[in-house]
Symmetry: C4
Subunit: 263 residues, 4 copies
Amino acid sequence: MSKSRAYIYQLFDPHDGGQGLERVFDGILLGLVLLNGAAVVLGSVKSLYASYKPYFVAIEVVSVYVFTLEYALRVWSCVEDRRFQRSIGGRLRFMRTPMALVDLLAILPFYLSIAGIDLRILRLLRLFRLLKVARYVRALQVIGQVVRRKRPELLVTTGVIGLMLVLVSSLMYVVESEAQPDKFGSIPETMWWGVATLTTVGYGDVYPITVAGKLLSSIIAVLGLGLFALPTGILAAGFSEQLAQQRIATEVPVYCPHCGHKL
Amino acid sequence: MSKSRAYIYQLFDPHDGGQGLERVFDGILLGLVLLNGAAVVLGSVKSLYASYKPYFVAIEVVSVYVFTLEYALRVWSCVEDRRFQRSIGGRLRFMRTPMALVDLLAILPFYLSIAGIDLRILRLLRLFRLLKVARYVRALQVIGQVVRRKRPELLVTTGVIGLMLVLVSSLMYVVESEAQPDKFGSIPETMWWGVATLTTVGYGDVYPITVAGKLLSSIIAVLGLGLFALPTGILAAGFSEQLAQQRIATEVPVYCPHCGHKL
Amino acid sequence: MSKSRAYIYQLFDPHDGGQGLERVFDGILLGLVLLNGAAVVLGSVKSLYASYKPYFVAIEVVSVYVFTLEYALRVWSCVEDRRFQRSIGGRLRFMRTPMALVDLLAILPFYLSIAGIDLRILRLLRLFRLLKVARYVRALQVIGQVVRRKRPELLVTTGVIGLMLVLVSSLMYVVESEAQPDKFGSIPETMWWGVATLTTVGYGDVYPITVAGKLLSSIIAVLGLGLFALPTGILAAGFSEQLAQQRIATEVPVYCPHCGHKL
Amino acid sequence: MSKSRAYIYQLFDPHDGGQGLERVFDGILLGLVLLNGAAVVLGSVKSLYASYKPYFVAIEVVSVYVFTLEYALRVWSCVEDRRFQRSIGGRLRFMRTPMALVDLLAILPFYLSIAGIDLRILRLLRLFRLLKVARYVRALQVIGQVVRRKRPELLVTTGVIGLMLVLVSSLMYVVESEAQPDKFGSIPETMWWGVATLTTVGYGDVYPITVAGKLLSSIIAVLGLGLFALPTGILAAGFSEQLAQQRIATEVPVYCPHCGHKL
């Protein structure tokens, strides 16, 4: 029993990157995840769904079956991991890890819809299955590490951006609301203009038409770009650092200058 | 007297980051500031204001009362600070510090409106109360330090941007004003196009339609982006440096696991 | 025979950067490539093509003749290169190198059109001749080196961007498809909005009109910019590193003006 | 004679940054330049020009008088500079320096218009007077140094951008010209779309409407942003380096490690 459990555990989560069978197994699961994503995206095109309904249903049923089996086996075998050793408490803790929650969200909508709860939004939740990709493509986990590493910087800049958006939209509301009461009629409405301007998206559905509004908008646009680009710059820097570190970690050994041991 | 004054001073501006009661106190004031910001933003939506007028008024009155008390106590206790020791001169100097001015601006509009001066813009000034957040969220002060640190670079690039905007808009005015006299009718009007193009917002309300105008606009857009993105790059770099410095200053030392020497 | 072959080889691919005649020869070929590019671009303007048809045809015929000769001579002389020494196997391998394929693509459309296969797309393939520029302008090869060097980073970020685009567009589809079934009618259609928003292009043909859609769009725009700008940041960093390395490699040594030692 | 010439030379171009009178003198000239710029910009607004014509004319006449005098005195006194010592050859060489040409362009339009050549474009040339600012605001010269320093990088990236714009527009022309012959009717016309998309300006006057066009446009937008942002990244980096160097140059002395002399 414990032997096959250890084998299953190793199959799902090979600690050495995986070999032979484990890699094939990973490839199949990853392929199924991607096929599923494609099915959800293409299935939203009504004409396509009408024409190929049996195929979309088949993909859905088969993958829910496989993902349910996968989830059950993972929960069963997780106790092989030191962190989740106790048979009930450990398993419950495992089920609360982010990836296990993603696995659960990937199958839940299907069972809820069978149980009669068939909300439109529920069916879209199936897309969260795409997040399962993160388990198989190790590189995708880098983005999470970068966000965690740069969390203080990102929090500060997001806070500053939020504060600035409110202040800027309030000023614009005072200046422009009389000329265009339908588009700048309240501060929350004006914030839609603020987002479009400060992110430089500029759809063109809302823009100032008074001279004062254009002047204020110009000043805001020139000064505000800097702030809105800060999270970008921080993420890019963190990304470079993270990948540089990983490259170094697998390349040049570092020695302690005092005792000469490899660190 | 002096003892309770010292206590109040410590309560408002704890020199050691704050403990127990001081933190709770800070949290309440911060919450009130944020509640106030939300009230001003949502209160600008006419239908919301009409439905919940008593609540909006209550938030306004209570917070002005609290902020007035806060301002009075800060002015009274500021002499505990070495910088503002003299009872009148020191207090006057304290009242001229940026944060004290923000505190004053946060309550002034209310008293002016009671005194009969009820301008629309005055009511908006209440939003400056949001700047009080900077007092409670230490992280927000980083942005100010970065701007101060990079001031020469930011001044130079802002100057270059301004000069370039004028030159570019003048060229465009010569090329395009005949074809679109309503949108490119003068240099200041053309500058609205210049801002929209060089910041890449591109609302779409103004764009060249002649071949010469499109050609010039293309050249300007490709070459100009670099200049307009300079302040962004400078800010992002300054931000990283600032936070890296703070991190180093508080960083945990690393020891060699073999010999125990600090690395 | 072998001597003239070696001479031709040296003429086309001077290993020492080229001198006298070789540089003139390179300049002529580069000029012809650029002339060709201009001809294809301008020839697509119907009125221009109608007025100057003989010139366009002449440029086409002459350059195909020259490029054919160039291709033949390169294939013939390539065996002078150690990598392609064997007379048939070596030449076949040479013909599979990227630059040799570009050379072939530059002349193939012409011969296919003579052979009766006259597709519109084929004529456009002539534009690939512009890629021949890379052979003569060494600096253009830097971009390829940067992409190769930063491949892992670029792959990861492109993957993240793709995943995010799908998730974000699905959410928006749920929120907005009822209000605007013509523009947000399916996930693939909504992805057109996603690209326009996350790249900040914002043409203005598609944008949310419901409050929920605007709110979601705002959050996506602010958070998403960072991810879409990552490849940019990575490329820019790689570019600087690459050019810095090359500069160091060819840099002039600096000497102390007092003692003459190299610093 | 020579003494007053040396005095004038020192007045216009103080080698030690200037003191007392020289600074006042500089300030007056800079003020006149800025006043002139404002006059040209505001004078293009027809209603303003009609109302305040005498003032605009006065500013024009006075400043041309002053700038003519300045130009004459600079040409006369330039021989004090070692580089322009010979009385005729030296002065001619001085007149060919960029700043002297700007000085000439600042006054030429006025004299040409007196001579009867009154072209609209000529009057706009007066705006080049704004470039005189560069003489008085030392910081503005940094931008020129950065461009010179990063010239190879900027040339390469500009070349790559140009090549890419042509290739991308050609592909789009093939895909979209049949559906929208008025907007994608030729490659040069399609390049207007290319610039708007790749710079992310996105005015919204031109965008693909076919599925193939939208797909191609999406791929181009995502991949192309990186290239178009390269010059920006390079400029920003160069700018930081330049200012960091200047800061170091005026702060920490550097010594030769061999002889100990200050470098």
